[in-house]
Symmetry: C2
């Protein structure tokens, strides 16, 4: 998909055309079949059976009537002002048909046909034609290789998905948008079962023109009754559309759940510097989604069931959970899961405990988790008595029911009533985990806006994610100043003329010096120069081989630490000169001499240019630990101090920075500052530099700043 | 529960008595109610309805018949040779009834009654009486506060659990054994739904006498038709019984799945040295379970659904998985999950690919994952054609089906048939993930020994755990030599006389010297001593304050590194002497001087005495990183080199040990050796020492050995 799509969409009347797709007043099916079980027959059958109120125009030269609806021989005969045309004919005829649609000023088309980019190169070329037509005309196109779009409110089930073969439509307040038709069907099927339903459903297939992000943005803009977007995507082709959607989601305060598949499939590009090796593409996706406020989920089960909670208008006010269960064991397990997912176990006030002890059986626990025991069998009022007490406790934000109700004997109607009433009446969030629930009861709870789950782990994970969402503040995204971008770099242009690919450490630092506090250093190429400078050096010093061809100096014994005097300096230089590891092509060597940096916490700072997302800054554990521990965070410039602080606080080594085990706190402020400077630097140089690796950055004690010990820059190809 | 239970059980005829409990020929219900919905009425109703073939003896002075069965006024009137007596009367009458049971030589009793240790101190005292009676008599007792025991084969449903209120018994090849009755009911209910069922079911409650581990061991010993044990436990009171069960499980090659709740509830004991702080009780449990071959699961869903796979007799031969799906999206997600859980995506042979390409549709993928596309709708032979090809591929060990079949249109009977046949005929493991499955179909698959799951993530996690189980070798548990234990320690006895609690670094090392290579060191208490020795020291050296009262020397500035000569030695000594951090009570100080250790990888080695499990050895990342990274492994001595090697290889820092980024490999062999020596040392001293913390152990390059830089020993109280 072309990167310029966003602009094109702006040129055409996108809202009018997407409206034609999502809220059509008429639907034309080209190639409509008389057989309601055929791909091209199903939309007709679905539209009829579910009661689409608009016009249905089947087009098929062979029949006068298709499934008892008057058919047209040719699309040209169909009346004008067409909102949505479904194309279900062989791939080779698609382009011609699209062109006719353009002539007829059709608002939107949908291509069910396969045989495009998913098949071979020819198909790919054919597919490109689609976007050309869409761009030139302004008509929006869904697919090819898609299963269609549905709006459950106006019953425009313009799809051939088997999800609609039977059953009633289950209307809800979410939109299911998926690149894969089968996954969209699975999600909807699960939501039909659990009572959540959906309002829109779309399978976008190859996404040659319209993508899920654009659909989602339109829905959030135009439909106040949709509270949550559920997206399944296999690739992010247009980061621009996703950013727009992210902004829209934050503006409307409507969450977007994203299931992004292919974590492991996306081969990591062979990385030539260490930042590259770590900034695996999926990590970038992860951070991109986080930055723009998307909520990433891990599988179809999460994508489907989390919407039970995220569809609610009610917000959670804090992390303190009260657990009430008729099984002590279930209560204990739910406490485990709360801790695992970052929720707190509420400390009841003494008033709460006292009142609970008055109503609960003698052997029940009045502490959190509350175990009301199997006594619930005999006394159905236990719940209706206990709930108001919890509702009044200021230390409780969320009430979770752990129901282990198996078999007959319980007055389930009364129990559910109590739970549903408490969700409606109180300002605390209420949720249910019901292991072995009675058939249909989970659905009943969800339909009454009480998020209910069969699996306690899933319940608590969903509640925790939702709480996190409710408590998080939307972070303003700062734009970088234009003047920064315009500043010209003479030093850089000079370097460009003499180098290709990697820069030496000295040249790398020379470039970075513009923005960052690199240490003072001296370059020597022979013994004479060393002897001349030796008396004035501040010992101990370090000597490093300086060469654009050597990226890993330690590996080739190109680093000598802790040199105390001139004698040792000369000895080290002589060793390097005779070192066969790098003394091959060139008779002379160049060494860099710097003062030994005082010790401190080693951090790694990096940059790479991602093909989709652009500049990415990496900060993580430094030294040798970075590759072992995978302890790093990715950030997308421009950055705010808040973002930088948050990333640093998320590192595993954060406690060391804060000072632990008698060690003093480290200079976090100085670290933040250089990351901010680095971020601005990479924005400025993103067109010229491919990767930067500064490892380690030594962070000294508070007030003592940082030292950039080593730096490696790789220029973009052709620079 | 008393630690000596195991021995008692050996004295009585445990097998005869547990047989009475699990395979009773008669069941007596004391306090039997006429009301089949009451706790004391339900067992009678269940036994009747499910068709228990043995005798039922209700005891109730008020009735002549209980639920139409002839009742007895008093237990004394019931015939002799009683296998199982259920006691469902008020707690205060329980002991007297037990005593009568002993008189009548009853084999086993089961106490439903609450009001014991779970209530208050009085109840706890009452409960202790139960084990006294059991011990003295040899009768086995389940409970109190339990929901009973069931054997689905002979229909002895001796329980009041609501799990049996309705429905048919679902007999399977697993045993569900749980401390919590509600959890046992949930697990059984889930397994009734998914077709797995169970053969035994037990809720053991307060476990004053018999525990789940003893029941499990008996079942594995006596019933070849049980293939898997499913245990829910909240505490491990007798590690001895668990060890016996572990050995039995390994001997019979029958897996034991364990859900241990209360990970977070168990408060970590305030740890006074760092090993203690890290060896959180739950980690010890985790390692204990691992050591004895138990498979720990995370929640009820896993405990229940994993048995779909673990109940099979068929074994998995390798980690290579072929994925075949009718949805490309589902296939991609399953690949992600395989990678996440450690399974490989099989590389098909070229023969396989060729043959697949002949039968699959043009736009389908013949690579792994195979996407047979929605074409499955039109061509039901796709599966039966593709399966034999995969079955012949030597690169494939397991075949997983990803079914995204929603709605009508598919010939599901034919698809399921193909899958079931392939599981029965072939030697490869076959499994199914079926999102949005048709009602009852998952059950059908499981009943035919094809593990089937609604949730693809759960399916792949279960398959991965099972593969791991099948591929793992049972590790022989070495016993430590008796002579080691007998060796006397003069040096230690001397120390004991003068110290209490912590030992100084010097004393700690003095003690460790017996087993481990501690560095040479000198102790100084004044300037004169320093001056005398200074010329003969090998510089640079380190000076450390030596005091039993100072455990964290760095925090109080009690360590000076890199001392190069006499002058610096004296300066450091003077500073320490004037250091107010520790120069308070005592006019004189003592310092330890050692040669600076060469650099290397820092490892931490520790020991603590766990109240349940005894001596535990910890090995992990050293230095300041240990607390941050939680990168450590726990081991239970005696150790084999294989165990030690495996633990070291599981550390995050393992690659550093192996040599990475141009660094040389470290002396892993030397590290293994000192861990072995350390393990033997702690076995010897476990009665005297509470905790040991050796941090860091510096591991030098290969062949250069290790240095034990610092050591801290805490003696047991009263020693």
């Amino acid at each position: 998909m072309s990167k310029t799509d966003g602009e094109i969409v702006e040129k055409r009347d996108v809202n009018r055309n997407i409206k034609g797709l999502l809220k059509p007043e008429n639907i034309t099916i080209i190639g409509a079949s008389n057989d309601p079980e055929k791909i091209s027959g199903r939309p007709v059958e679905y539209l009829k059976r579910y009661g689409f109120k608009g016009e249905i125009y089947p087009v098929n030269p062979k029949y006068e009537y298709v499934q008892n609806i008057k058919a047209f021989k040719d699309i040209k005969e169909v009346p004008n002002d067409l909102d949505l045309v479904i194309i279900a004919i062989a791939a080779k005829h698609v382009i011609k048909t699209l062109e006719i649609c353009v002539e007829k000023n059709v608002k939107s088309c949908m291509i069910f046909s396969s045989g495009f980019a998913e098949m071979n190169n020819e198909g790919e070329a054919l597919q490109k034609e689609i976007s050309r037509i869409a761009k030139d005309s302004g008509m929006v196109v869904v697919g090819p290789n898609c299963q269609g779009v549905a709006n459950f409110e106006n019953k425009s089930i313009a799809s051939f998905s088997t999800a609609f073969v039977e059953g009633d439509l289950k209307t809800g307040s979410s939109a299911i948008l998926s690149q894969s038709g089968a996954v969209a069907a699975m999600i909807y099927s699960m939501q039909t079962d659990n009572g959540t339903g959906a309002k829109y459903w779309a399978s976008t297939g190859n996404e040659e023109d319209l993508n899920t992000a654009q659909l989602a943005k339109y829905i959030l803009e135009t439909d106040e009754n949709v509270n949550v977007i559920q997206m399944y995507i296999e690739s992010i082709d247009s980061d621009k559309d996703m950013i727009e959607l992210g902004k829209q989601s934050q503006k409307k305060d409507k969450p977007v759940l994203v299931l992004k598949a292919g974590r492991s499939d996306e081969a990591q590009k062979a990385a030539s510097s260490h930042t590259g090796a770590l900034a695996a593409e999926d990590n970038i996706v992860d951070n991109f989604l986080k930055k723009y406020g998307f909520l990433r989920v891990n599988d179809v089960k999460e994508l489907s069931s989390f919407s039970n909670v995220f569809k609610l208008s009610k917000k959670t006010k804090g992390k303190n959970v009260a657990i009430i269960s008729n099984s002590g064991g279930l209560g204990v397990m739910m406490v485990d899961k709360c801790k695992e997912y970052g929720l707190n176990i509420a400390n009841f006030t003494s008033e709460t405990k006292e009142k609970l002890s008055e109503i609960l059986p003698q052997f029940a626990s009045c502490e959190n988790p509350i175990d009301i025991t199997a006594q619930l069998l005999n006394d159905k009022h236990l719940l209706s008595d206990a709930l108001p007490i919890l509702m009044k406790d200021p230390n409780v934000d969320t009430i979770l029911f752990g129901l282990g109700i198996i078999g007959k004997g319980y007055d389930i109607d009364s129990i559910l009533n109590d739970i549903i009433n408490s969700q409606q009446a109180g300002d605390k969030m209420v949720g249910v985990a019901w292991v072995g629930s009675e058939k249909g009861r989970i659905k009943e709870l969800n339909e009454n806006n009480v998020p209910a789950f069969e699996d306690p782990s899933l319940c608590i994970k969903a509640m925790s994610k939702y709480t996190e969402y409710c408590l998080s503040n939307t972070e303003a995204i700062k734009e970088s100043s234009e003047e920064q971008k315009d500043r010209k770099k003479n030093s850089f242009n000079n370097l460009l003329q003499t180098h290709n690919g990697f820069l030496s450490e000295n040249d790398s630092k020379f470039l970075l010096k513009e923005a960052l506090p690199v240490p003072k250093s001296m370059l020597f190429t022979n013994e004479e120069e060393i002897k001349q400078s030796a008396p004035n050096l501040e010992y101990p010093v370090v000597m490093k081989i300086n060469s654009a061809e050597i990226q890993h100096k330690t590996e080739v014994e190109g680093v000598k630490l802790n040199i105390s005097n001139e004698e040792e300096l000369l000895e080290s230089f002589s060793k390097m000169k005779n070192n066969n590891n790098f003394y091959k092509k060139n008779k002379s060597i160049e060494v860099l001499v710097e003062k030994m940096a005082p010790s401190g916490l080693e951090i790694s700072l990096g940059f790479k240019n991602d093909p989709v997302f652009g500049p990415v800054v990496m900060v993580g554990s430094g030294g040798i630990y970075i590759e072992i521990l995978k302890d790093f965070q990715l950030l997308m410039p421009p950055l705010s101090f808040r973002e930088i602080n948050k990333a640093i606080d998320s590192l595993a080594i954060q406690p060391i920075l804060q000072g632990t085990r008698g060690e003093r706190a480290k200079d976090k402020k100085a670290l933040c500052n250089i990351i901010m400077d680095f971020s601005n630097f990479v924005i400025e140089y993103q067109d010229d530099i491919e990767e930067i690796d500064i490892n380690p950055v030594i962070v000294h004690e508070e007030g003592q700043g940082v030292t950039l010990v080593d730096a490696l820059i790789k220029l973009k190809e052709g620079k």
